[in-house]
Symmetry: C2
Subunit: 457 residues, 2 copies
């Protein structure tokens, strides 16, 4: 039953009712937090996903095991409906040999940490070339092709540390990783290395998706090197030319079948759907703990908590563990297509894909009225130290729903971004770098927002 109805029965009206409902909402949210913090299961679930499954790039054996893991966990909680949704996914794997060296003219050599960008071709043996350093694709495009021809282009634009939110620094550098290899190929380069997209100066190379544009004649390999190695290479290049040798064994395999994993609790008032999810796939280094194991266990825990508290939703609550966010987003796209085909009504979609850090609020993607209403109902979350409710972005997985439901409300869990890009897409994204309480607070924030949306929309 809708909470407000209880008060209508009690004969309350107007501001009395509003105040009474707010109070009841707050009490229920307090129970959500108590369950998450005192009896939480998401931390143990994340350990299992990280240690029992591991890193799980789309198409890998680990990704297949992650689907099994997800379904078994959801079934163990006895949610009303648990099912798999078949999708076609791309299949790229790193292979085994990855190594890189920088060598100056005196023969001094330094082995650097290197990770093929996700989707890159391999080097087919040892690739060797002189390094051409640029700060941006725009800078590269100004150069004469003859200067670029046969070179290994080194995109070295660092994070602008002046951004308070590190996602903005990431956004301002992302084109190097996504488009840099195509841009360099167009100018005749034989390979690309990029400075890792990271906040910190450390030894980790950070992978991530890239694409070859359709007009590209030669699909040259692209890789990331650590920020420490990028700084060293810069120093060497100040003095004299530097040659890079690199080997990568990554390759594409035929498309295969994989799955979104879904759990539902049906609504008692209507069939409108509140979708909430994260992505089950990860990159293939580390354990995908923050990206996006945290989002997965946030969402599962949110549904578990609401069920454990005996909550009867007004609308259908649907938790979706999306496959293939990292390199293709076929999970998100297929999900949206199927929702539309089934003529489902969609009320809202909420994503958690910014890691298991301290939650600070939600980003809101919607029209003016929706944004205002979310900000209003979010007042109940201030007591739980959630302060930031601003227009913004939801998440890659749920975004395709807007192609079919342009009027729907979308939300993205917003977290303390300061440490996210220390771990993102690198070997440091492991369970040990997730704090139990911060993870639990994220799950509670998701459950509380799902509850508020279910009550108020």
């Amino acid at each position: 039953m809708h909470f407000t109805k209880i008060f209508l029965i009690l004969g309350l009206t107007g501001s009395q009712l509003l105040a009474a409902q707010r109070n009841t909402d707050s009490l229920f949210i307090r129970r959500i937090y108590d369950e998450a913090l005192a009896k939480g299961q998401c931390y143990a679930n994340l350990r299992s996903l990280c240690k029992d499954v591991g890193a799980r790039v789309t198409g890998s054996a680990e990704a297949d095991m992650a689907v099994v893991w997800g379904r078994e966990l959801l079934e163990s909680y006895k949610f009303s409906n648990v099912y798999l949704q078949e999708i076609k996914v791309p299949h790229w794997e790193r292979g085994t040999a990855e190594a890189g060296w920088m060598i100056n003219s005196a023969g001094k050599m330094h082995k650097f940490n290197i990770l093929a960008l996700g989707g890159s071709e391999g080097t087919n043996g040892l690739l060797e070339g002189d390094v051409l350093q640029v700060q941006s694709i725009e800078d590269l495009e100004l150069l004469d092709d003859r200067l670029v021809n046969g070179k290994i282009v080194f995109f070295n634009r660092p994070f602008d540390q002046k951004y308070i939110n590190t996602f903005h620094a990431y956004g301002a550098c992302g084109d190097q990783r996504w488009n840099g290899t195509s841009a360099a190929s167009r100018k005749g380069a034989k390979g690309v290395i990029i400075r890792s997209l990271a906040s910190s100066t450390d030894e980790h190379a950070h992978t991530g998706s890239m694409q070859y544009d359709e007009d590209i004649k030669v699909r040259i390999p692209g890789a990331a090197i650590s920020t420490i190695d990028a700084d060293l290479l810069t120093e060497w290049l100040k003095i004299e030319p530097v040659t890079v040798k690199m080997e990568m064994d990554c390759r594409w395999y035929p498309e295969k079948i994989s799955y979104n994993v879904i759990a539902e609790e049906p609504g008692h008032e209507d069939d409108k759907i509140i979708t909430f999810g994260g992505h089950l796939d990860s990159w293939d280094v580390g354990e995908g703990a923050h990206d996006d194991g945290a989002g997965i266990v946030h969402c599962i825990e949110a549904l578990r908590i609401l069920k454990a508290l005996g909550y009867q939703p007004n609308h259908t609550l649907r938790c979706v563990l999306f496959m293939n966010e990292e390199n293709g987003n076929f999970g998100g796209k297929t999900y949206a297509e199927i929702c539309s085909e089934h003529q489902e009504e969609h009320l809202c979609a909420i994503e958690s894909d910014r890691g298991g850090f301290l939650p600070v609020g939600f980003e809101i993607l919607g029209n003016v009225d929706q944004v205002l209403k979310v900000k209003e109902i979010a007042g109940a979350l201030r007591a739980f130290e959630l302060y930031r409710f601003q227009e913004g972005y939801s998440g890659v997985d749920v975004r395709p729903l807007l192609d079919y439901y342009p009027e729907m409300l979308q939300l993205g869990l917003s977290i303390n971004s300061q440490r996210y890009f220390d771990y993102h897409h690198c070997a440091a994204d492991v369970f040990e770098n997730v704090n139990k309480r911060e993870l639990e607070l994220g799950a509670a924030a998701m459950a509380a927002m799902i509850f508020l949306i279910d009550q108020n929309f």
Copy 2:
């Protein structure tokens, strides 16, 4: 010159002036953040304090070296006045041998991690006794003295994980550490062990201050054991009696002379003082990185940034590195006394002593008008993701100023508390557990608040 005066000269008035000043304030605060994030020195300074000085319990050689370190650093920045303020401090040290075992009736033994509480007497050889577990001092006091006599009392009340702010959980457990040993002695116990005051379940023992009440006849030893060991001891005690053996070599030495380390930039309008500080001493395990190396480098960096930007303060800005916060607070008490003796006027005091985590706002200790005014001017900090401005506590070091200046405003930097008690007073409080950007944002928040107070009060 006071910023508003510039606008008065320009002929602006009323709301025009207010809007113009707010805009100018925001631009200046943006410059503070740029300096902190792009040219920050606090992270390197913290590394030096942690690695070149190390843990620095009051009275130790390291604490003496920390005074030298502080003065040299402040002098290197060429602040107008840098000086030491002499204080008498207590001197307690841990000594070398610390070990503990739990042994069941079958002779099964487990060596546990143990840390003497700060200020405890040693055991004078091996102390052995049967364990008596209680959840609180109140529970202990209900027991017949004969049940307690000759026992080692085990205070095992854990953090209540349901608190959102972990300082509340700490506050609700703190009496076990501070008063537990005296309470147990009064009942005839021969020693005390407490469950570490920590959020996490791990292997670290967490020390911290305790006191012997004046009526205590026997100053029995008190120690902390790790939360993992506390849980194991609980399990063993469910089955059968357990004996504990422990040895601690800690002791008291004669009082000695130490110093607060102070830097000032004089005010251009008056002699009123804005004090801001943290504490230079730490406990003797780990490196005192979060507690309170972070606060020390926050405050030094705040003054450095304001000077680097050419800021001419209206009031005197005084950065104080307080000695002896952890066990006696003679730095804070002496500082307040001397301020009063010198008949200084005090406008405000701001403390950073909650670690180098993500800053979220400030706690405000003042009258209604002061609280409202701080909340109003703090609006300029929302763009920098500072949201939390609530009545609360400033800090142990600056608190004694209120005994002499009861009308003054005090503030405490408020941070994400979730991980603080994973590191607090234990071997894990090391430089590596501080994030560069989070630390820098704390320094920027301090500088920005000092600027706003200087402009608006």
